[in-house]
Symmetry: C3
Subunit: 347 residues, 3 copies
Amino acid sequence: MSADQQQDQLPGDSRFFKRSGPFALKRLLEATGAEAVGNADAETLFEGVAPLHAAGPRHVSFLDNRRYLSLLQETGAGAVILGPAFADKVPEGCTALVSREPYLAWSRVARLFHPLSPAQEKRHPTAVIGENVTIGRQVEIGPFAVIGDGAQIGDGCVIGAHAMLGDHVVLGAGCRIGAHVTLSHALLGERVVLYPGARIGQDGFGFAVGSEGFETVPQLGRVILEDGVEIGANSTIDRGSMRDTVIGAGTRIDNLVQIGHNARLGRCCIVVSQAGVSGSTEIEDFVTIAAQAGLIGHIHIGRKARIGAQCGVMNDVEAGADVIGSPAMPFREFFRNVATLRKLSRK
Amino acid sequence: MSADQQQDQLPGDSRFFKRSGPFALKRLLEATGAEAVGNADAETLFEGVAPLHAAGPRHVSFLDNRRYLSLLQETGAGAVILGPAFADKVPEGCTALVSREPYLAWSRVARLFHPLSPAQEKRHPTAVIGENVTIGRQVEIGPFAVIGDGAQIGDGCVIGAHAMLGDHVVLGAGCRIGAHVTLSHALLGERVVLYPGARIGQDGFGFAVGSEGFETVPQLGRVILEDGVEIGANSTIDRGSMRDTVIGAGTRIDNLVQIGHNARLGRCCIVVSQAGVSGSTEIEDFVTIAAQAGLIGHIHIGRKARIGAQCGVMNDVEAGADVIGSPAMPFREFFRNVATLRKLSRK
Amino acid sequence: MSADQQQDQLPGDSRFFKRSGPFALKRLLEATGAEAVGNADAETLFEGVAPLHAAGPRHVSFLDNRRYLSLLQETGAGAVILGPAFADKVPEGCTALVSREPYLAWSRVARLFHPLSPAQEKRHPTAVIGENVTIGRQVEIGPFAVIGDGAQIGDGCVIGAHAMLGDHVVLGAGCRIGAHVTLSHALLGERVVLYPGARIGQDGFGFAVGSEGFETVPQLGRVILEDGVEIGANSTIDRGSMRDTVIGAGTRIDNLVQIGHNARLGRCCIVVSQAGVSGSTEIEDFVTIAAQAGLIGHIHIGRKARIGAQCGVMNDVEAGADVIGSPAMPFREFFRNVATLRKLSRK
């Protein structure tokens, strides 16, 4: 099988994604808050979404990056969602759907055409459910899922195949637990999403040096995942030792990320793939940690700070600061250092 | 659910942790070897452990870091475990429990109040056990566990839900295999702990370049995990190609760590999260490898060397050396380089 | 158990590896294309493979690295596979098997003595198979495997214990899906190998910033793994958002690697452990990405480029270039920088 044979297909392969529609232009405008430029007919029907290069007259497409302007000018799309700066760049016959938040508008149109299936009241007969488990309405439990004694599962949760929920875990409404997830010693808010293979609530890396070697220190805290938190595939979040490990509401964590025991992340933080946060570090709201960055333990990262990719953070970072490098320093200083060293080396 | 609502709770949530006690002061002193300062009553009862800021008169607390001295002075704890240097800093009414190994003492008190449940003789009816498997006494096997033909499971082992043990693996007494672990081609000593999602014994990354592309090289070694080894969640340890991959007794490996084929780690090493050791590298006893460090293959790391976080090690490291940076260099040199470059850039 | 007790054993422990043979020298020469130096008897029988230091007269051994020459001179092996440069270095009584591709020759001899078991037509009774699933001949399905509705499984595939294949995934002939793999929204070519715990096809890390926090952007693409692709243990490959994530034929990906949505890798690339490729990055054929390297999104890496360990790539890389450092720069420049800085710091 070559990639070429497989690739020439629109997004939303109907084998894998539910489809809805068609929808009239006015429905798209309602869903997005975008405005149609020119004399487009509000009743025009659209059938789906497609990238600029592949879209036809019944497709909605999207532009948010100036580097793809040439694709816009050649697109066959019936409509394109874009920001005000690009509104006059659409080719003839294409309707510009202008939004100040074009990516958000795009996201909503894509969801309109490809809605998520709601959870169904369904329990696979192979699932093992413990004693005194409370299960809400419209809960979907997959094959070989294991739910421990005393667990509480809120309405509309989806528990994937082979997921393992330990005794007494609590899930708020609308959580989605991926296949092969391990979850224990944890309290989840609403709409928490755990991707496949995430490990939540195991012992932190804590031991004391004894005369005979290392002795494990009891890890007596929990993991708290607040509303809307998402944890990527194969990421690991250790439970606290003496207090809880806490991930604040809305925070998004990518794949293969490590969060150490007692760490606290605030609201709406972003932690990109393969980054790591060591134990007891505190991170305020709206912090971004880019891929492969590492933070040592017991430090404090201020609100809206941005930690660059592969950054090694050994000290507190002030609110709003942009740091990069290992050890971490302000972005400007880092790139000045790079330039200085290059110049000196060429002498 | 907000974190605030959930957090104001002492460690050891009884939903998740077994509790024991109360215990008299003299029992705590026996368990820890600490000495009580002042005229404390050896019969005073304690009910549990708590952090300094939350502890009450029936709690034991702990201090080992000077930065938390202000919390000590305000604590309501009945007793605090700490080192000799802080013995005279406890507030009135609080008993100082002085230990030269305060963290170890703390660990033992915490374990006293929150003992691990011993393995129970229990086999979940859904577990699939192969032919000619030898299972010791007091072995606990979880739902959907799979144990291959000819495996040997020592006394007191716990095999978690969905764990997969390949044919002929050997587990010494008292091993704890987490949920969703994959284990094959491996011999384990006693008291080995594998956290959820660890992958032990799969093929190493070995292939030869042929005329038609890459050809997989047979990986004919095993993984040997000696007594007391612990491997973190979602870490991966490849089996050897021509000799064994060996992790020495007592070594602790954190989450998301990669150990390549034929690598050998000595006794009581520490490998922190997201670090990686490439194939055929040899690491002596008591080596520490900090988070996100990487070691190339076929090198030798001397006894008690310390590899800093994010360090990139391309050459042998001498016994006792402290290295950091990428490429690795002595700590002192690294930080001198950082200072030099900063100074030159500012000119 | 000490490592010493366990290690003194030849590779290919018969508990874990199938054995075949003995084979005559002429059979080895046929299998490898190597030439025997001197007057070796083509009928001499060999029983297995062994490393230089442990091999006896009925073993074939191997040398490809000058650093092990002293072991060659002392080996008791009956024959050694090696390159022309070492042909005259074998001790008396040992036959040199000379190959211009000694590692490949070695690989084939090792496989001859330790063949892979072919897939058997076998379905564990606990496996859950969905509706309208197409299963080829000689397909082996392990305990607790889950195969979704409409999936297509080619001839000779092996599906490991606890693997989860989502609805409508397609597997070409001869694929091997490891234990605990999660696979969805994906089309696989022939002979694709997924190691335990690999996560293929989950949502990419895509969200838009709304007034109430982040909103997930629908991820409407797929994952395409072409013929012969191998993906390591616990690696994660997100499906595309608007186009497919594609891994080209023959490409080998090691453990704990992250591939972001819409990324495209060409043919016969090598991606070593803990490296990460961000979304929408395009990588041509025969590119090597060493351990712990990271590539930002939306860049282009030319054919046969080599990205060094821990490299941080923020810009396009030309075909054939060797880069290292963070930010990435040519190898030569990187090591000149290192030397310059060391010199300046010592002043």
